[in-house]
Every structure is written in structure tokens, then in C-alpha cells.
């Protein structure tokens, strides 16, 4: 699992301040969300595609693997809009399905947005260590330390929960629990899994919290940082590159 998320080389994107990267990419996502211009959406998609496939530092095989869910959501969102969207210039229709020029274009636009969202998240996740993100958010963006460390602690507890889920599923098999089909079965399954897992997790979380306070963690107190994060030259490069390429995406779409 860990090997899967180890890049084969660390590109310049890794050295960018993770909090800055987070804010810039988050702004991009908002723009993707509200943009309705087809060409602008396409240009942005190309920009984010280039980021993922050239500067993430992962091998092609892994990148293709990571792209699978993104492509699937592209196809499903675009196809739904194309087949069932409203439009005047009808190209083809059969029963409920109606493909029109407008619905086709709108479907593609929606698909591009989905792809862009996927690419932005992917390039961020692949090139940032979560711990450094939280350290940078604390230092550059004044995120209260209690939130940062509770996120970090919860990342650490994640594998334990996966393991417990597996044990619970094995235990249910051994006890001979069978779930009925349909909605009732889903609810029963949910209850059988969540109750014990929640009980374990709550207890664990409380123990970790007490242990953290026993190590003199104080909410809101002044502290030093093991990973000092600052702005460096690469951050300026990052901002310039992003602004320039983003502006050209915009300008090229207007012409």
C-alpha cells in the first residue's frame, strides 16, 4: 500500500509549500466549478493533465491506475448529461434518450469539469505529505494546532480501522451471520459493523487524546515546529508558472 504511493522521483512540485499549493489548487477548483465556458474548461483540463502526467513524479503505470476512477466518473457524468439533457437541436432520439447538440456540449463540459477536479486532487495528493501540509497550515495560515494534530493523529489510526474492519468481517462469518437481501440487509450490515467499530475508535481516540495531553500538548499554547515551513524561491516559481499558464488558458479560450 505504501509502495503504491511512493514516487519514483521527487519533482519541483514536492518542494512547494504544501499550504500554498493547497490554497492555489483550491482556488482553481472553485473556478472549475463555476466556469461555464467550454473552451476555457478544455484549456484548464489540458493544464491540469500536463501537471499530473509530467510533474507528479510517478511512473506511467501508476498514473494510469490512479486515473481509472477519474475516467470512469468522466464517462458516467458526461454520458448522463448527453443522453438525458435538454436541448433543441436534436441529433438522435430513442424513447427517453435524446441527444441534442446542446446536451452533447453540456455533457462534455461537465465531463471536463469532473476530469479537472480529479486531476487537481490527484496532483495535490500525489505531491504532498499530509504531515507537511498540516505543519505548513499551522505556520503559514495560522491553523489552530488542535485541529492540525487531531488530523495527523487520525491519519495514524486509519490502518488500524481497516484492520479491524477485516477482523469484524471475519468474525461475522465465523459467527454465521447472514444478511438478508435488500434495504433491510444493508441497514443490518451497517449496524453490525458500525457499533463495535465506533466503540473501538472512540475509546482509542480518547486514549490518544489523553496521551497527547500527558505529553504536555496544550491547545493554543505557543510551540516550535519539527518541520519548519517557509516560503522559498520555488514557491514564487510555482505561483508565476500557475498564474501564467492559467492566464494563457483563459486568453486562448476568449479568442
Amino acid at each position: 500500500m505504501l509502495e503504491l504511493f511512493t514516487p519514483h522521483r521527487e519533482t519541483w512540485l514536492y518542494r512547494v509549500n504544501p499550504a500554498l499549493k493547497f490554497v492555489v489548487f483550491f482556488a482553481f477548483m472553485l473556478i472549475v466549478l463555476f466556469n461555464q465556458n467550454f473552451h476555457f474548461a478544455l484549456n484548464q483540463l489540458i493544464l491540469y493533465g500536463v501537471l499530473v502526467y509530467s510533474f507528479s513524479g510517478y511512473s506511467w503505470r501508476k498514473l494510469l491506475l490512479f486515473s481509472v476512477p477519474i475516467v470512469i466518473s468522466f464517462v458516467s457524468s458526461a454520458a448522463t448529461m448527453m443522453l438525458f439533457g435538454k436541448g433543441v437541436t436534436i441529433w438522435w432520439s430513442w424513447g427517453l434518450i435524446k441527444i441534442s447538440e446542446e446536451s452533447f456540449n453540456y455533457g462534455l463540459l461537465l465531463g471536463f469539469k469532473t476530469l479537472s477536479f480529479g486531476f487537481i486532487s490527484l496532483v495535490f495528493l500525489l505531491t504532498s505529505r499530509p504531515i507537511l501540509l498540516f505543519y505548513a497550515l499551522m505556520q503559514q495560515f495560522r491553523l489552530p494546532s488542535k485541529y492540525a494534530y487531531s488530523f495527523i493523529a487520525s491519519i495514524r489510526l486509519m490502518p488500524v480501522i481497516v484492520e479491524e474492519l477485516q477482523t469484524r468481517s471475519d468474525a461475522l462469518k465465523i459467527r454465521g451471520v447472514h444478511f438478508p437481501k435488500g434495504l433491510k440487509g444493508i441497514f443490518q450490515r451497517l449496524r453490525m459493523y458500525t457499533v463495535p467499530l465506533f466503540a473501538q475508535s472512540i475509546r482509542r481516540a480518547q486514549r490518544v487524546a489523553v496521551a497527547m495531553e500527558a505529553k504536555r500538548f496544550q491547545m493554543g499554547a505557543k510551540r516550535t515546529y519539527y518541520y519548519p515551513t517557509t516560503y522559498e524561491r520555488v514557491d514564487a516559481v510555482f505561483v508565476i508558472v500557475m498564474v501564467v499558464s492559467f492566464a494563457s488558458a483563459l486568453v486562448l479560450s476568449v479568442r
Binding site: 504531515i131 494534530y149 495527523i152 493523529a153 491519519i155 495514524r156 490502518p159 488500524v160 479491524e164 477482523t167 469484524r168 471475519d170 468474525a171 461475522l172 462469518k173 465465523i174 459467527r175 454465521g176 451471520v177 453490525m192 463495535p196 466503540a199 473501538q200 482509542r204 486514549r207 490518544v208 487524546a209 489523553v210 496521551a211 497527547m212 495531553e213 500527558a214 505529553k215 504536555r216 500538548f217 496544550q218 499554547a221 505557543k222 510551540r223 516550535t224 515546529y225 519539527y226 519548519p228
Partner: protein, 511 residues
């Protein structure tokens, strides 16, 4: 006593404390003083409030855990460190160096001074890691506890609170953590709560004994307390140094031994083979994790599986239960099982008890928990009631049958999980460290129940680290090394019995 008060480092007088939702007070006017440099061991039955007292004296109660308490006066130590019981829930960072740095960050230590301090802390507890940036989850449990100790040493504490730091460790880890404690805490004041006192009984210089309502019944030098209150200590389930020797001469164990001897003598023809394995392999994903070249399991035997951490002991149990992908030959009661079938359900003849009983409970009451598998096979409610009642009796679970399984004590949960596994009449019971983390009384109770089942014809297979269990209860020992069954032999105790048998037979022959 006057001397005590003069250089006391912490004290509390007339402490009263009550957990919300509990009907009675944990402490009723408890007074307790510790002087500088003392090494105090708190002993008492589970649930008597020893751990709570540590939390009060450190200030964790009420600062971190809000519990209403009242006392006439309280003096907390100025600097202290706390090592908790569970190695997996006292770290908040993923890597060793980050965890230690977290403490230094809290203390406002400048970044450039952190590196050397981290290295020093690690080597002082005997963990001189060549690379400090390694994942905590890759450490053994014993190493994790030493890391926990290292992290509290960075607080430069005068007082160390140790709340059962070795109770969830294997024998090797237990030795490691206590060696480290003795190394670093020679000059410090240390307060320990622990059931496994083998390694510290001669190191502490004061023992305080509590009864089950949280009153101090004895307080003095270790030799005196161990001598005068031997009966209480045994009753409270404490793993005092000679606990096994005393158990082996107890009437309960003698009875077991006599019955076993009779069984051996009366066993003329060899027992029926339940399971035959040939070239049996279990996989996690695509990786082979366990390999059994050849093995047979006889009905009515008690097999213990031993081996290092991560050697594949639990994997073996999961493979036998069809919970992992397996290949090879697996014959159960003479029937060859088709291992290619992907959708096989666990065999009815076998049942597995996991390490954490809570993950195995499926209903909301003790009664329903045992009745669950009986209802599955379609027994009438009347019959179910009689069967459940007899099982509750057999496993010594005399609690309200409507109680939620999560509300039971540690030992009761464990016994209930064994009872549920046994309910639908399995012929073989697989257990993953059933006595792990249990006090001595619970351990012997579980072992006696298992022996009772075994003499009734159930086959027992259990993973354990406890050498004494292997020696005294097992009939057979399997050793697993790096994912392979490398050795199968009769247990020492059994071979002794065999020798005696021959001896007996010889006498009979000559007369």
C-alpha cells in the same frame, strides 16, 4: 510517617471520586503520600481504582478526563511522565522521530536542539535506531513501549507513572521495558500499577495493596507485604513471582493432572484424526504467509502454537477457518475440502476466538449472544434457554443475562467469547492468545474451562507466548518460524506423563 510528609513529592488526603453513571464511589476518603525517590508498586484486583489513582496524582483527572472528585488537599508533582498500558494508543505521529519531536515542540524546544535530544532519549531506553525516521507501526510492541518511555523522558520528569506498561507485551517485550525503566529511573520517583510483577518485585521499595473497594489494606516493604498478604495477592489475580509454582500444587491443577493420567492410561487405541494437512499454504493477497508441509490433528488434543511475532501463527488459524486463500490438501473428518472453491464458509466443526472479544459480539445481551448460534440451527426457545443457562454456568458468567456484552469486565468478555464459540457444539476450538492481557485468576479460570472442554472431547488449538501454559497444559507444541511449521512435538509435561506410564506399566508387569 512524619518523615514521609517532610519530603513528600505528592500527596492526596481524603480523596473521594465517583465516575458518572456508576452507583458507588471508587475511593472513600483515601489518603496517600509518596516521598521523593520512592519506587512504589500499587497492587489490587482489577477495577479497584489503582489506575484512577495514578491519573489523579498526575492531574490527568480532572485536567484531561473530567471526573468529579473531592479531597481535603492534594499536592501534584511538578514534572512527571506517564506511560500507558496500550502501545498502540499513545502516539499521535506516524514516525518515531516525529513522535519524540512532538514532545519537544510542546515544550518549545528550538528546532536545532531537537535532533540530539531525540537521539539521546532513544539510546537511553535501549532503542538506538540507526534511522530515526521509521514508521512506529513497524516496531514490535515492546519497542513501542520503550519509545513511549523515551518520549516521556524528554519531559525531564521527576516522577514516572507507569500504568500496566507490560500487560500487553510478550515475555521478551516485558523484559525489555522493565530493563529500560530500571536503567533510566534509578534516581526518579516511580509509581507503578502492574499485575505482572515478576521483573519488578525486587526492584520496588514500597508496595501498596488495595482491596476490591479501593481501600488500602497494606502499605510497606515488598518482602513484608508479599509474605503477609500472600493469600490476598493470589486472590486478586496478581502475577506474583511464584504464582505458577503455587498453581501447580493447587487442588484444581492436581485434579486436572490426575484426570489426564487416567485418560492416558485408559486410552488404548490412538485417537481419531480430525484434520490432516498436506502441503497446506495460506496466502494474504498473493504472498504466501504460512506453509504446513504435513500435519495431523488428533481429537481431544491441546495444541499450542508458538513462534515469534509475525511468524504466521494467527495466519495459520485464519487459514484453517477458510478466511484466507489456501492451497494444498485439507482433510476434515475424513472429507477432503475443495480449497479451490472461493465462496467457502468457515467449517461448522471449527470455531475461532479472536484476540479482541468485542469484535466478535453480534447481539445486545449476554443471553442472546450465546443463543445466537443455537437459534441459527433452529432449536426451540425452551431448549435454547436450558443450553444457554448451562453454558453461562459452565463459563462462570453469573451476571444479569440481559447485560450488554460490552459492559462486562475483561475476563468476562473473554469467557463469553469462548462460550459463544463453543455454543453450537464445535469439535475444535481455535484461540488466538486467549489469556493475553488477563490477570492470573482469569488466566487460570480460562485454562481450566478449556481443559474441561478438552476432556469432554473438544480439540483445542491456541496461540500463546506463555511458556508455562505450553509446559503445563498443552499435549502438543507446534513451532512456527517465518511462515513455516518447523517443529511438532509432544509437550514436556506429556512426555513426563508417558514416562511415568511406562514406569507404571513396568511395575504391573513384574508383579
Amino acid at each position: 510517617m512524619n518523615n514521609h510528609q517532610q519530603n513528600s513529592i505528592m500527596q492526596v488526603s481524603n480523596l473521594r471520586l465517583k465516575f458518572p453513571g456508576e452507583s458507588s464511589l471508587i475511593f472513600k476518603d483515601l489518603s496517600f503520600t509518596v516521598s521523593q525517590g520512592e519506587k512504589v508498586l500499587l497492587l489490587g484486583p482489577s477495577g479497584c481504582g489503582k489506575s484512577t489513582l495514578l491519573q489523579v496524582l498526575s492531574g490527568i483527572i480532572p485536567h484531561s478526563i473530567e471526573v468529579p472528585l473531592k479531597c481535603d488537599s492534594i499536592q501534584l508533582p511538578e514534572s512527571w511522565g506517564f506511560v500507558f498500558q496500550d502501545p498502540d494508543t499513545q502516539f499521535c505521529m506516524p514516525y518515531v522521530d516525529e513522535e519524540l519531536a512532538f514532545v519537544l515542540e510542546n515544550l518549545n524546544v528550538p528546532r536545532d536542539k531537537m535532533g540530539p535530544l531525540i537521539g539521546k532519549a532513544l539510546s537511553s531506553v535501549g532503542l538506538p535506531l540507526p534511522e530515526q525516521h521509521i514508521l512506529i507501526q513497524t516496531l514490535s510492541q515492546g519497542m513501542k513501549q520503550r519509545l513511549a518511555l523515551a518520549s516521556v523522558l524528554l519531559l525531564k520528569p521527576d516522577v514516572l507513572f507507569l500504568d500496566e506498561p507490560s500487560s500487553l507485551l510478550d515475555p521478551e517485550g516485558t523484559i525489555q521495558i522493565w530493563d529500560s525503566v530500571k536503567e533510566v529511573a534509578a534516581e526518579k520517583t516511580v509509581i507503578i500499577v502492574e499485575h505482572k510483577i515478576d521483573h519488578i518485585a525486587d526492584w520496588v521499595n514500597r508496595v501498596v495493596l488495595f482491596n476490591d473497594v479501593g481501600e488500602i489494606i497494606a502499605d510497606g516493604l515488598p518482602e513484608e507485604i508479599f509474605d503477609q498478604y500472600k493469600q490476598e495477592i493470589a486472590e486478586y489475580g496478581i502475577w506474583y513471582p511464584q504464582v505458577w509454582e503455587d498453581y501447580l500444587v493447587s487442588t484444581n491443577f492436581k485434579e486436572i493432572n490426575t484426570l489426564r493420567r487416567q485418560e492416558n492410561l485408559s486410552r488404548l487405541k490412538p485417537q481419531k484424526t480430525i484434520i490432516k494437512l498436506q502441503d497446506f499454504r495460506g496466502y494474504r493477497g498473493k504472498i504466501e504467509k504460512i506453509n504446513i508441509p504435513q500435519a495431523e490433528i488428533d481429537g481431544g488434543s491441546w495444541i499450542t502454537i508458538i513462534g515469534d511475532n509475525g511468524a504466521g501463527k494467527s495466519t495459520l488459524l485464519l487459514s484453517l477457518m477458510h478466511l484466507l486463500r489456501t492451497t494444498g490438501q485439507y482433510e476434515l473428518n475424513g472429507n477432503l475440502i475443495n480449497l479451490q472453491n472461493r465462496k467457502k464458509s468457515p467449517p461448522n466443526e471449527l470455531s475461532l476466538v479472536f484476540q479482541n472479544p468485542e469484535l466478535q459480539f453480534v447481539t445486545n445481551s449476554v443471553f442472546d449472544e450465546i443463543a445466537f448460534s443455537l437459534r441459527l440451527i433452529g432449536l426451540s426457545e425452551l431448549e435454547i434457554r436450558t443450553r444457554v443457562m448451562s453454558l453461562l454456568e459452565l463459563f462462570h458468567l453469573n451476571v444479569n443475562e440481559q447485560r450488554h456484552p460490552f459492559q462486562l469486565s475483561m475476563g468476562q468478555k473473554r469467557r463469553l467469547s469462548v462460550a459463544t464459540a463453543f455454543a453450537h457444539g464445535t469439535t475444535m476450538l481455535l484461540l488466538d492468545e486467549p489469556t493475553f492481557g488477563q490477570d492470573a485468576r482469569n488466566t487460570f479460570a480460562i485454562l481450566e474451562k478449556l481443559e474441561q472442554l478438552r476432556s469432554g472431547g473438544t480439540t483445542i488449538m491456541m496461540v500463546t507466548h506463555d511458556r508455562r501454559i505450553v509446559e503445563n497444559f498443552a499435549t502438543e507444541v507446534w513451532t512456527i518460524d517465518q511462515g513455516k511449521l518447523v517443529k511438532m512435538c509432544a509437550s514436556q509435561n506429556v512426555s513426563e506423563q508417558k514416562r511415568e506410564e511406562k514406569h507404571c506399566a513396568g511395575i504391573i508387569h513384574t508383579t
